[in-house]
């Protein structure tokens, strides 16, 4: 029998605020243990939490960017459980009135992954387990998170991968999080079940907790899918449980029996007043949202005439898109800038984080100047390309690298002369060409380019060379 994968995601995204959700301690990553703490975030009796306004704004931004409805009235609740990573023995979260609900993220295959809710909550502290005891660092305790919960709408690992990438991209674009999975500022829990293809009943699900890499998520989902199918095929039952994924052995193992929601004994946090979200506030935030990656991609294709593959590469990181947009200001062909960026400039940014930062040796303004020189016919493509390489190497501007004498290309007589020289000094190439090797002409064009220091028009040179050879016959 064939089985279908059914999965849903819960994604925790750490918000890029300066301070924690309920106190004024810094959210900075790292720092000596327990140096970013105060009586509020370590839960001392008699302290009162006060909600960070920016957390609400960022959550609304995230909600709008994922097509959610924003609640008019929201509130904070206590989720009770005893574990040393929570100093108060409860986490302040949201239960039945989350800030955002009913959104979606659209995938490239046209399917919409429905977002059930996005709520705000505090992160827990960090535990280090040693032999015999456990050390607790509350620096991360109280750092604001949003939890983005989807419906069980995923039907393949590829869809899951695309969703996580898309979500990461959106959150970075709107500036609410850096979503660095390796640093834990974005973490995913995945609910997985399987069912016979064609069935519309959900199978028993398991939940894989806390994964911080897209590769691991994909591997863990594949492993868990196969494990569940094997269980069912051999007549056994899938047990509802929480699993941990071990990336070394590529297996999942049980953490603890999943507690029912009501075991958390949620109730309203009486220390925190109601959150009222006026519609004007929502509209203000909507107005301030930047163009989202998907919209940008469409615009690049439809208005700028870029191939879709280029548009995808240029919009994958916000800084690259901004760079591109600056580089094409006042230029004629956006495709030229796209080629320069994807072809030459990308070579100097290899890692994801380098692309994220996009600190390249050539500023968008310098690239823009180079393209304008090219557009105006003052330099030719070959010279532009070699100049760009030099710019990347030295960080100098185009005009510092190109002599006045290099500009304006070659006049026709000089080009004719060079072409004649090319034919005369390459008898073998001429012979090959006459014997039907079309490519042999390239060697002669190369001669012209080299001796004109890139100023000649390669296509024109080729035409002239072929003319000279044919005339000589």
């Amino acid at each position: 029998m064939k089985y279908e994968l059914v999965a849903g995601f819960e994604t925790h995204v750490e918000l890029a605020t300066n301070t924690k959700i309920f106190c004024s301690c810094t959210t900075e990553f790292g720092g000596e243990p327990n140096t970013h703490c105060c009586p509020i975030c370590i839960g001392l009796p008699g302290t009162l939490p006060k909600l960070n306004k920016r957390v609400v704004e960022y959550a609304i931004r995230a909600g709008l960017a994922t097509n959610c409805e924003i609640a008019e009235i929201s509130k904070m609740d206590r989720k009770n459980y005893c574990y040393p990573d929570l100093p108060k023995a409860y986490q302040i979260s949201q239960y039945d009135k989350p800030l955002c609900e009913h959104g979606y993220v659209q995938l490239s295959n046209g399917r919409k992954i429905r977002i059930l809710r996005i709520h705000i909550e505090e992160d827990a502290g960090k535990l280090v387990h040693r032999r015999g005891d456990t050390l607790v660092d509350y620096n991360r305790g109280g750092v604001p998170l949003i939890e983005i919960v989807t419906e069980p709408d995923f039907r393949s690992v590829d869809e899951a991968r695309e969703y996580v990438e898309k979500l990461q991209l959106i959150m970075r674009y709107i500036g609410v999080s850096d979503c660095k999975m390796q640093e834990g500022s974005m973490r995913c829990d995945v609910n997985i079940s399987v069912r016979p293809e064609g069935s519309d009943k959900l199978g028993t699900r398991t939940e894989i907790k806390n994964m911080n890499s897209i590769t691991f998520i994909a591997k863990a989902m594949e492993y868990e899918y196969n494990r569940q199918v094997d269980l069912i095929e051999s007549g056994e039952k899938v047990i509802q449980e929480t699993l941990r994924y071990d990336d070394v052995s590529n297996t999942t193992s049980s953490m603890r029996g999943k507690e029912d929601a009501n075991d958390y004994r949620y109730f309203r946090d009486p220390d925190l007043v109601t959150i009222n979200v006026p519609r004007e506030m929502v509209e203000d935030i909507r107005q301030q949202l930047p163009e989202l990656p998907e919209e940008k991609k469409t615009r690049y294709v439809e208005e700028l005439g870029l191939p879709e593959a280029d548009a995808i590469l240029l919009t994958k990181y916000r800084k690259i898109a901004e760079y591109f947009e600056k580089a094409i200001e006042g230029t004629k062909t956006p495709k030229t800038a796209a080629n320069f960026i994807i072809g030459q400039i990308f070579r100097s940014v290899e890692t994801e984080s380098e692309k994220e930062e996009f600190n390249v040796n050539v500023t968008a303004e310098s690239l823009n100047e180079l393209i304008i020189l090219l557009d105006s016919g003052k330099i030719r493509m070959n010279l532009a390309k070699s100049t760009l390489d030099k710019m990347l190497e030295t960080g100098k501007k185009a005009l510092e690298l190109i002599d006045e004498s290099d500009m304006g290309g070659l006049d026709e007589n000089a080009l004719m002369d060079l072409c004649r020289q090319a034919v005369e000094s390459n008898p073998k190439a001429v012979k090959d060409f006459l014997a039907g090797k079309q490519k042999a002409v390239k060697a002669m064009v190369g001669f012209v380019m080299k001796n004109s220091r890139g100023k000649a028009d390669a296509a024109l040179a080729e035409e002239i060379i072929i003319g000279i050879i044919n005339d000589s016959q």
Binding site: T26, P33, C37, I42, N52, V55, C82, I275
Partner: protein, 93 residues
């Protein structure tokens, strides 16, 4: 009515150890508390929202960093500490 089983479950979730001799009394007490709270269900229709009875909303704080407390102060009431951390009994079984 609250059952003994429910009391035991709540005790486990709250990490409280409840002696056999205490269960009956706790069950009785809890039942009384709940039936007292149930009185409200018998009250005439009330429009007011009990969820937000003081009618307060939007007490926000600006996102500005203030100095945290010295670690020495933070750890002062800890039963045990090591390497700048709170130290608790190993919770991994």
């Amino acid at each position: 009515m609250v059952t003994k089983e429910e009391i035991m479950k709540i005790a486990i979730l709250s990490k409280l150890s409840v002696g056999d001799d205490e269960i009956d009394k706790l069950t009785q007490d809890m039942s009384e508390i709940i039936s007292f709270a149930d009185t409200i269900n018998n009250a005439a229709d009330i429009e007011s929202d009990f969820d937000n009875i003081n009618n307060l909303s939007n007490a926000f704080r600006e996102d500005e960093v203030l100095p945290s407390l010295d670690r020495e102060q933070i750890l002062k009431n800890a039963k045990d500490s090591d390497e700048g951390c709170f130290m608790v009994k190993n919770i991994m079984k």
